[in-house]
């Protein structure tokens, strides 16, 4: 299957004296986390299918520094940011797409004042663009009539007010989209943000991902759709805690689109 993936790097483009239309920022989770890697591959399949002229940084990519910044380590964040900006600017990158809302937020909002000015898109925004420009044609869908509930990632939703793109993309699947009681502006966090992903939670009476999973399960979904690798981890764990993993699948929007295209 791997031979099907076409993943050129910026260095390869540079060697040929060419420039891709868009840089795919894979992110640390998308590069190393086993579950998130599947999202990365699903998105690449979509890019390949739509004939997008893209590249990745590959081994030149490094953490955006987002999680260090949220943990309070401004030094480490700015070291990472300035290093990345130097690299991105040397490749004359203009447009970036990423599957990680945290990278999306950081690149979009926090890099500009350090000298990194790019048009940054979240993958749901980019997929929406592909669908509306007919580069991606979703005719048949395995998800017709399936009950799907979408969990808003904080850094896509509240942080950047993007609530429509993921819903529009999901809408193309002809599935039955149901909203959780807390959604959009009032969506509950999955519990991973602000560097919580990398530490044990403080003492309390419940884990946040469990509470959020309860929100999702109340809609009787066949699928919980996410659009963030960290939300993916948290919601998948939550569904396991609730012993619903046989009944309810947690899938990224990129995976839903890719599999509906039999990619």
């Amino acid at each position: 299957m791997s031979e099907l993936l076409n993943v050129p790097t910026m260095a390869e483009f540079m060697a040929e004296g060419k420039q891709p239309d868009i840089l795919f920022w894979v992110g640390s989770a998308g590069s190393y986390d086993d579950r998130a890697k599947k999202i990365t591959k699903a998105f690449v399949k979509i890019l390949n299918k739509a004939g997008v002229n893209f590249a990745v940084l590959g081994t030149e990519e490094s953490s955006t520094g987002d999680v260090a910044k949220r943990a309070g380590n401004e030094f480490l964040f700015q070291m990472q940011a300035l290093m990345n900006i130097e690299l991105l600017n040397s490749y004359e990158v203009k447009r970036i797409v990423t599957c990680d809302p945290h990278s999306f937020n950081c690149l979009k909002n926090e890099y500009p004042s350090l000298g990194g000015n790019y048009e940054v898109l979240h993958h749901t925004q980019f997929i929406k663009e592909l669908i509306s420009s007919k580069k991606l044609d979703i005719k048949e869908s395995d998800y017709k009539g399936k009950q799907i509930t979408f969990h808003d990632p904080c850094y896509l939703g509240r942080a950047n007010s993007e609530y429509d793109a993921p819903r529009e993309v999901l809408g193309s699947l002809n599935a039955n989209l149901v909203e959780m009681k807390r959604s959009k502006e009032r969506a509950l966090c999955c519990g991973a943000g602000g560097a919580q992903m990398f530490k044990e939670p403080e003492k309390g009476d419940k884990d946040i991902n469990e509470l959020r999973t309860e929100d999702a399960l109340k809609t009787n979904p066949d699928i919980i759709a996410t659009a963030c690798p960290y939300c993916m981890t948290m919601m998948t764990d939550g569904v396991k805690v609730k012993e619903q993993e046989q009944k309810v699948k947690v899938l990224d929007i990129a995976e839903l689109i890719a599999s509906s295209q039999n990619l």
Binding site: S2, S31, N109, L114, G193, A195, G204, K206
Partner: protein, 437 residues
């Protein structure tokens, strides 16, 4: 003529407004203890925010029940103040219902009629607020930070408003001339039968009594504001104006850090070079914030603006799952510490004397700071654009960059980023391995 009431009235006004002005000056001084921050950007957006969020109550009504009730009290509060203007003129010049002589009777009747309806609606709304707090016991009013003074303070405000509205209506009901006008006594006509059979003298005493208590009550209420959580009725306006205008996800980049990092990364920089003249003072005293003076004045304004409604806390994922963090408490602690620092300055002739305390540690614990998911639910929920998250992040910055006091797991994560450019301990050379897996 006897001028004694006029003089007493004038003195009451001067004392009431004077004491309030004195406290407002203190308030402004305390807010200015914060670090300077540039708020000259996005002027038009700022005006829009103030008009929509403060004046237009757009965020209040996101919760329809409390939002609607609040709009009633808010409109009542603003409009009934026109009546206060009449009271002040009457009080100073010894006139009685001066507007009724200036305005056509129908107009005056309409005005007072509207005030009466509003006063009645405000009374009902405030009673419902009281029931929500004390009988229904809505959770957000019973969190641990709401014990003692904050709980009483919230109720005092409600009692104040109830009493003021009753006094206004009683004043009208006992006013025989006004009742005889048969215009504008929309509500008070139902109260005046209570006084039937009383002598004109007793009625006059009741009317005067209610009139005096009403205006004195307003002056006391005005002065109570500074000591209560209720300053939002004034500060909501500047606070929504100076509040956040960029995407909620954007944290500021510390410029002092940028300078140092750029120098570290500059291959031509001479680490032993003497600092250029006059540059010594440029290094900030510390990174992040451990006390109120380290925060920006906008963050301190936020703290004074908070009215402890708890919408932030009721949306906070950490709080909802039983963690100690409550964004409302962060704001209350910031305000309480700022007040403490202000009092310290008062008693030490305008200089702050180190009291061995600080906001972080003595008020806010590390446990609270580390429980935050930075999800912005609190920021989104606040009806007056308060940003508790920004304070939490400043404290994390202090803990990490000044104290190296991050939880061990986070230190591991950060070491990984330093060593191999990812929060996990994987080799950077393996970043593209997924392609072939």
């Amino acid at each position: 003529m006897n001028y004694l009431p006029n003089i007493i009235f004038a003195i009451a006004l001067i004392v009431g407004f004077g004491y309030f002005a004195r406290n407002v000056k203190k308030l402004v001084r305390n807010i200015k203890l914060g670090q300077d921050v540039d708020v000259s950007d996005n002027r038009s957006q700022r005006w829009k925010n103030m008009i929509n969020i403060a004046l237009g109550q757009s965020k209040m009504v996101k919760r329809p029940v409390s939002g609607f009730l609040h709009v009633v009290v808010y409109i009542g509060f603003i409009i009934i103040n026109i009546e206060v203007l009449e009271i002040i003129i009457d009080g100073l010049f010894g006139t009685h219902r001066i507007f009724s002589q200036v305005l056509p009777e129908a107009v005056y009747g309409f005005l007072i009629g509207s005030f009466e309806v509003l006063a009645f609606l405000v009374f009902v709304a405030v009673v419902v607020f009281w029931i929500r707090r004390n009988i229904i016991k809505i959770q957000r009013f019973w969190k641990s930070e709401m014990k003692g003074w904050p709980k009483n303070d919230g109720n005092f405000i409600l009692y104040f408003e109830m009493v003021l509205m009753i006094l206004f209506l009683v004043m009208n009901a006992a006013d025989t001339t006004f009742q005889n006008m048969e215009s504008g006594n929309v509500i008070s006509q139902f109260i005046s039968p209570l006084f039937s059979g009383m002598s004109p003298e007793s009625l006059h005493i009741i009317e005067r009594g209610a009139w005096w208590l009403h205006i004195v009550g307003i002056l006391i209420f005005l002065n109570y504001l500074y000591f209560s959580k209720h300053l939002h009725i004034l500060l909501a306006f500047p606070n929504t104006f100076y509040g956040r205008v960029n995407n909620k996800g954007q944290l500021n980049n510390l410029e002092s850090v940028t300078k140092e990092v750029k120098m570290m990364m500059d291959p031509d920089a001479d680490p032993f070079a003497a600092a250029p003249e006059g540059a010594e003072d440029e290094t900030p005293a510390k990174f992040g914030a451990s006390d109120v003076q380290d925060l920006t004045w906008v963050q301190l304004l936020n703290a004074y603006t908070c009215t402890e409604c708890g919408r932030c806390t009721s949306e906070c994922p950490a709080n909802l799952t039983g963690k100690k963090l409550s964004p409302r408490k962060i704001m209350m602690d910031t305000r309480d510490r700022l007040e403490e620092v202000g009092k310290n300055i008062d008693v030490n002739n305008g200089e702050f004397k180190d009291d061995g305390k600080q906001l972080l540690g003595d008020y806010i614990t590390n446990e609270e700071i580390w429980a935050c998911t930075s999800c912005n639910a609190c920021v989104e929920a606040c009806p007056v654009s308060i940003d508790p998250l920004s304070i939490i992040i400043e404290m994390r910055r202090y803990l990490v960059m000044e104290q190296s006091a991050a939880p061990a797991e986070l230190n591991n994560m950060m070491t990984n980023i330093e060593n191999n450019g990812a929060p996990w301990p994987y080799n950077q050379m393996d970043r593209l391995n997924w392609k072939n897996e």
